[in-house]
Symmetry: C2
Subunit: 332 residues, 2 copies
């Protein structure tokens, strides 16, 4: 049985078990290694998730997302500190849209800037957002699982922008915090179109640069109650820490709301459904596309389209049948 | 035979044939309708592409892409005008990352700003970049085909940003022009990581705001010759039209280069290969996922994962087998 290509070397079962037990103790070095394994995929990922999954489900996961320039990273840093003040262990996954190099450096700076006394109870990891959407979402979800199993009370996932990747990752959590800033004007409208539905809590950060009332009003208008929760619109000045305790209050209030109404479980199961389908189709694709390209009929079909004897849409529908006929289950 | 869900009403064969023949004559209203059909998918798309595909292949397709704020839209407008001066018919597809509403308004302004005498020989269409990546790429590729069949000499595809969607669309063309501006600094580095490989021509626009030499040097360094073509790095001040004739010269030079070396055909066939595979798997997914969700075993599997009796990675590999067993070809 081998649908997922082996990419991470042969992590033997016992090695993985050993790593898993160190992760469960919250060992930071084990965490780093475990996340690298789930990020790179392959059989190591499957084994590790198999070991860790039964021990997950405790962490409350929070996505913090919004356009660039809204001071999101600072807000995340202050939010971590506030959660720490309340005695929570915090894991952070920062999805970085820039190159891995730049991203790494920035994150390094941010970690250095943080109070050293917090270091042991906070684990921060960045992940470059290049590559395929589905692959990143799967890596992010499994990274959240690793952090959850490691005993984090809160896992924060930070994303930037309104691309498909970002929205997919930002919604793979229990609570989604959407950050904007005043003076965005038209951009707020465009942004809202994408984020209205996914936000559980809205924050107007940099509320000191100008009167945030208009932006707060714009954000609030059109927001709809979801299962009895009306998304609050808060204002913060992250760089000074203003409003951050209220934000954390709101997150905790939302957590309580979800648990009291059994919605957290319901939402998780819904996410699980999409996750399983996306993961299975992605693995099916990987396996099938290789087999397909080895078929002579594929080269023939491609040649017909290139010569304009067949149009691409008709060719695609022929190909659907060819895909269905490839029985990859025989391989199992 | 029905893999693609019917979404556009029952465009009968004869209606589609009539529309296709009006598209071939370059009728703008027919163009608008045809693009709406290929954009919305369904059987209408298949029929229309079936009719039009044999008449495509003449247009030279140019992607113009780069980060926001580089004055790309102005550059595209001036490039259209320059091509018109040279007697070329121009079709434009603008992939708009903002809401369809904002996008529409902006595009309306741009069309109004253009010289009216050009209007008849230029067709501009915008497409919102929301929705799934694959779906947008397919719609964009088929829109290019419609514009090509309508007799456009040049089809320009304008995209913003370095997301997966944008890169996928920006590379579905014969020539890719990458636009940056001076003073981007670190951003140029991050940007280059994504665009180095896809650019055939690089433009430093807004070259009047500061000395562009350093940016031009940064962009040029690390660029590699591809099949004997060294991507030029040009400077423009689009708002004044400065450098635009040189850009169009470069595009025409590149077109000649591709044709002289038979590379245009080769690249097209390579793109065709990816397009067919993506389209077929997307249709396969659409058909199969519905069937899968009707299976009792699927609900059972999902329940096991929710109850933590099974981990998601093991469940996904079981699901791969279930997908392979669903014989959608029987449906055909």
């Amino acid at each position: 049985m081998k649908y997922v290509p082996e990419r991470t070397g042969n992590q033997g079962s016992s090695l993985v078990s050993d790593l898993a037990s160190r992760v469960l103790k919250g060992d930071h070095r084990a965490l780093a290694k475990a996340i690298s394994i789930v990020e790179s995929g392959g059989i190591g990922r499957r084994r590790l998730i198999h070991e860790l999954y039964p021990r997950t489900g405790k962490a409350f996961t929070v996505g913090i997302t919004g356009p660039t320039g809204t001071g999101k990273s600072t807000l995340v840093d202050k939010t971590i500190q506030e959660f720490r003040r309340r005695g929570r262990k915090v894991g952070v996954l920062a999805i970085d849209p820039s190159s891995p190099y730049t991203g790494g450096a920035l994150l390094g700076d941010r970690i250095r800037m943080m109070d050293h006394s917090l270091e042991r109870e906070v684990y921060i990891r960045s992940m470059a957002s290049r590559g395929d959407v589905g692959g990143l979402a799967r890596a992010a979800i499994n990274t959240i699982r690793v952090l959850d199993a490691a005993g984090m009370d809160i896992v924060i996932v930070e994303t930037v922008g309104a691309g498909q990747t970002e929205v997919q990752v930002a919604t793979a959590v229990d609570a989604t915090v959407v950050v904007v800033m005043p003076q965005l004007g038209d951009e707020v409208q465009a942004f809202k179109a994408g984020f209205n539905e996914i936000g559980d809590i809205f924050v107007v950060n940099k509320a000191d640069i100008t009167n945030p009332s208009k932006t707060m009003f714009n954000v609030a208008s059109g927001l709809q109650e979801k299962s009895g929760w009306r998304p609050p619109v808060l204002k913060t000045v992250a760089i000074k820490g203003t409003g951050v305790p209220s934000l954390v209050d709101s997150i905790e209030k939302f957590q309580k709301f979800l648990d009291d109404h059994g919605i957290r479980e319901e939402r998780r199961n819904k996410r699980l459904e999409s996750e399983l389908i996306e993961a299975a189709f992605s693995d099916f694709y990987t396996e099938t596309v290789t087999r397909l390209k080895q078929e002579k009929s594929w080269q023939h079909l491609l040649g017909q389209v290139a010569k304009k004897e067949l149009d691409p849409e008709t060719a695609a529908s022929k190909l659907v049948k060819a895909i269905a006929r490839l029985d990859v289950s025989e391989n199992a």
